[in-house]
């Protein structure tokens, strides 16, 4: 139970930090923390071999999302600088 609580608190904390952060790129590390917490919770909620796949899929998916957002943002600021 204590493990779940830690994950939940971290998740909540991370989401609040995401909202509080003004800078778009620096929101992403917090989102990353949130993803870690959720990934852990997925595994904790349903301990089943498919659960690993689910957790990994979720983690990879959200990482891909962050990656895409960050890359696009970077690309756009590059274009804006030129």
């Amino acid at each position: 139970m204590i493990v779940e609580s830690i994950c939940a608190i971290v998740a909540l904390y991370a989401s609040i930090r995401i909202l509080a952060e003004k800078n778009t790129l620096r929101k992403l590390p917090f989102l990353n923390v949130l993803n870690f917490a959720i990934t852990g919770l997925i595994a904790l909620i349903l301990p089943h071999p498919m659960g690993i796949a689910a957790a990994a899929a979720y983690f990879v998916g959200s990482t891909l999302e962050s990656n895409a957002i960050a890359s696009t943002f970077a690309k756009q600021s590059e274009v804006a600088d030129d």
């Binding site: 939940a8 998740a11 349903l46 498919m50 999302e65």
Partner: protein, 76 residues
């Protein structure tokens, strides 16, 4: 899934939804959308639909990437 966890996920989802609605910068919106998804997926897992959860976890980022195409095109 215990009540506390449930409340936490619901809070994350609601916060994400509200933030997506309120924010102005499209990138911020997309990040909040990711947050919303983070709040929603545990409900799917808790229901025991792992296959659905896996597919969702792969399809939602694709949606985001598709949206990013528009964000990129609509840049000022």
């Amino acid at each position: 899934m215990t009540d506390i966890l449930l409340m936490v996920f619901a809070a994350i989802a609601i916060l994400g939804a509200a933030a997506t609605a309120i924010q102005k910068n499209p990138y911020d919106k997309l990040i909040s959308l990711g947050m919303l998804f983070a709040g929603v997926i545990p409900f799917v897992v808790a229901g025991g639909y792992l296959d659905v959860a896996i597919s969702l976890a792969l399809i939602v980022p694709i949606t985001t990437i598709i949206l990013l195409q528009a964000v990129w095109r609509c840049r000022l």
